[in-house]
Amino acid sequence: MIAGLDVDGMSKRFDGRPVLDAVSLSVPRGELMAVLGPSGCGKSTLLRGIAGLIAIDSGTVTVAGRRVDHLPVRERGIVYLGQEPLLFPHLDVGGNLAFGLRLSRRPAQEIEDRVRQLVEELGLPGMERRNPADLSGGERQRVAFGRALAIEPAVLLLDEPFSSLDAMTRSRMQGLFRRVARRHAITTVLVTHDLKEALVMGDRFGLMQNGRLLSHPDRAAFAAAPGSGVAAERAFWDLLDTGPSAQSGPAARGHGDRDA
């Protein structure tokens, strides 16, 4: 297993209440772990703790074999992408895509080439000079994704990034994100409360409840897990019986690709 992201014993309390209770997870390089759980179960806190956006009480975070939990956010090689794309409003699309590259003082020609490549890859041609305020929700998410890809992060954390999009755009975005993250071999953790989204995008799965995480290395183990809940399990089997991923075999990741 090529080292991707390893979290060991991460705990966090808010006002004495445990929000993360010795959470551990392991995602090999280039794979996507989908973490499911109800609202308020600690999913976002987990991602923010990994990214360094909040201080954790205990635990370690290792990225590609290097411990990063003592490092500031900017040195971890981890990009956190939330529900809101948070594009920089004073920069156009090209400026947003080039942001991280400019900070690392890459040569102008390299930045230009990389931006052009991302524009093509993410289906944003002709939008380089557009203002973020003039973009649709899906386009903004694509630019935020491209801005993250530009710096080639080791780990990408997706915190329900598609939840504010309409169903059709969401489906396209899921496929696009999955395909591009795989092509760039980016280790990804996606948190969602949408079972279908988790099944479409995930290689491995986690179920979070009351600050504890139960990890499952594949779809079958996840489906069989008693902790996944009756309703979720039923929805899962329904999806397998009737959904398009039923024809694509156990690697439902192809399902997402077709949507794009």
């Binding site: 500031p72 948070l86 942001f99 900070l103 305020a133 710096i151």
Partner: protein, 265 residues
């Protein structure tokens, strides 16, 4: 029919407001250039530059205007810079509502009282009766206003943009330089304008702390007014209004172009 009546009413209100706003300035302009303007004449009998020559006498006017401009610029830069740092710290503070309430304390004390107590402090530190003392005293008041204005800047969205920039490799300095300052330019410009005006128009603090040695433009205008020279006072008042008006127009353009207001996230 209803729409036409409403539009006529709106036009009347707009003209009424315009007259109310322009009228005092028109009176000042007539007074500043009048040779003679005796009651009950509606307009001056003749025109003259006497008031301006008297006001400019020996370069005193330019001196006062220059001193006012330097002090006001320094006050606005100092207070807004301090307020930016304070308000950002308050926005992420654990008990931010309580902390933000503390920043409002200067509003509960009269500027004269603040001036008197600051004078005592400055006296003991040897800074009284000097431009630096006036600058510090005005900055103290302007800082509270600036913190209040800046509180509006630090929305969760702007703070989260800082987190996003950090994830992309930005240092704390780069977050300020590349994200917070340009994204918040409109609010910052408005705060610079407000604090500039506060200092530019200040008479009481400059008089108390400056002790007559720091002669600013408002002090020159009040001197003319106390001497009963309404022509010179009118000319001085016009001059007093001009820089803040220009600053306001500039700030308004920046606010209108403010990217934070354009994003519909």
């Amino acid at each position: 029919m209803i729409r036409a009546t409403a539009s006529r009413r709106a036009a009347v209100i707009a003209w009424g407001l315009a007259v109310l706003i322009v009228l005092p300035y028109a009176v000042l302009a007539f007074g500043a250039f009048a040779q003679q303007w005796r009651y009950p004449a509606l307009l001056p009998a003749g025109w003259s530059m006497r008031a301006w020559t008297a006001l400019a006498g020996g370069g005193a006017l330019l001196d006062a205007a220059g001193r006012s401009a330097v002090i006001a610029l320094a006050v606005s830069l100092l207070s807004v810079t301090a307020a930016l740092i304070t308000s950002q710290a308050l926005a992420i503070a654990r008990h931010r509502e309580r902390m933000q309430a503390l920043a409002l304390l200067p509003f509960f004390v009269s500027p004269v009282v603040i001036g008197m107590s600051l004078q005592q402090l400055l006296l003991r530190s040897g800074l009284d009766h000097g431009a630096l003392g006036v600058l510090l005293a005005q900055s103290f008041i302007a800082y509270a206003y600036a913190v209040l204005l800046m509180n509006a800047l630090w929305s969760p969205t702007l703070l989260a943009m800082g987190d996003a920039a950090a994830g992309l490799g930005a240092s704390k300095l780069a977050i300020w330089r590349e994200v917070w300052l340009p994204a918040g330019a409109g609010v910052i410009a408005m705060a610079l304008f407000q604090t500039f005006s506060l200092s530019w128009f200040d008479y009481a603090l400059a008089r108390v702390i400056g002790g007559g040695r720091v002669v600013t433009l408002p002090i020159r205008v009040f001197e003319a007014l106390s001497a009963g020279d309404l022509r010179v006072a009118s000319a001085g008042s016009l001059l007093l209004v001009l820089p803040p008006a220009v600053a306001f127009l500039l700030a308004r353009r920046l606010v209108a172009a403010s990217p934070l207001l354009k994003v519909s996230q």
